[in-house]
């Protein structure tokens, strides 16, 4: 898994590439936690190049979504491939997260 980070306006945009699983999810989890620890720290996670997400990946996303829900931060996910979207669906996550088709829409929704 590779992660690329960029600041767009006041939003942190994370582009994840590869597999989000038990080995790699803690890296994303730590980053989400530290960004969202800042007041109003909002995040967009771009999934366009994510191959798959295992339960360990959903775990860190769910923790971040709960945190956003309880604070002024926003977490928006973008660019889910058909495969990744199917995994979100299997896990019952499509309605729990803010999800947009493109990174641009996600950045708008997060700011």
């Amino acid at each position: 898994m590779e992660m690329h980070e960029e600041q767009v306006g006041g939003v942190t945009a994370l582009a994840v590439k590869g597999r989000l699983d038990s080995t790699t999810a803690p890296v994303l989890g730590a980053r989400l936690e530290s960004v969202m620890a800042q007041p109003g720290g909002s995040v967009v996670v771009d999934f366009a190049n994510v191959e798959y997400v295992s339960s360990a990946g959903f775990r860190v996303l769910l923790i971040a979504a709960k945190r956003a829900d309880e604070s002024a931060s926003r977490l928006v996910l973008a660019g889910l491939s058909a495969k990744v979207r199917h995994l979100f669906d299997l896990g019952g996550f499509l309605d729990l997260f803010s999800i947009t088709a493109s990174r641009e829409e996600a950045l708008k929704a997060a700011s």
Binding site: S22, T23, E51, S54, S55, L87, G91
Partner: protein, 139 residues
């Protein structure tokens, strides 16, 4: 080579080793990406469960993973000498809970069951044996 065997005696790096072994086997036998993806997820879930719940008693343990590409299925057999654990007996997570009420447990087994064509568990003496099968081409 249609089979690969990986033995695990410590948690560190174990999942990556099995993953790499499956990637190698899949590339060699042109396994469809969708089937590979589902098997990688199921293995991540199964091994994480064993390493988390079976390796935490301070005793030495061993997991033997056999990966096989058969004409129509990809199969993984996972045998360990840890405490008896039947993932198929685990309660299904409540997928309809709201964000506040949504719990983190049970999801791994749920994914394993939904992504595999079938999952079998047996306790043989002091060993757990889990067999994961995924058809190569879903109709």
């Amino acid at each position: 080579m249609r089979r690969a065997v990986v033995s695990i005696t410590r948690a560190e790096g174990a999942v990556e080793e099995v993953q790499a072994s499956l990637d190698g086997l899949a590339a060699h036998h042109a396994v469809p990406p969708d089937a590979l993806c589902d098997m990688q997820i199921a293995l991540d879930e199964a091994l994480t469960n064993i390493l988390t719940h079976g390796f935490d008693d301070g005793e030495p343990h061993r997991i033997d993973v056999t990966l096989a590409i058969e004409p129509t299925v990809i199969r993984a057999e996972i045998e360990d000498d840890c405490v008896a654990f039947d993932p198929l007996s685990a309660a299904a997570p409540d997928l309809t809970a709201s964000l506040k009420e949504r719990r983190l447990g049970g999801l791994g087994v749920h994914f394993m069951r939904r992504l595999m064509s079938d999952v079998g568990y047996e306790r043989i003496g002091t060993r757990n044996r889990l067999v994961l099968r995924r058809v190569l081409n879903k109709g």
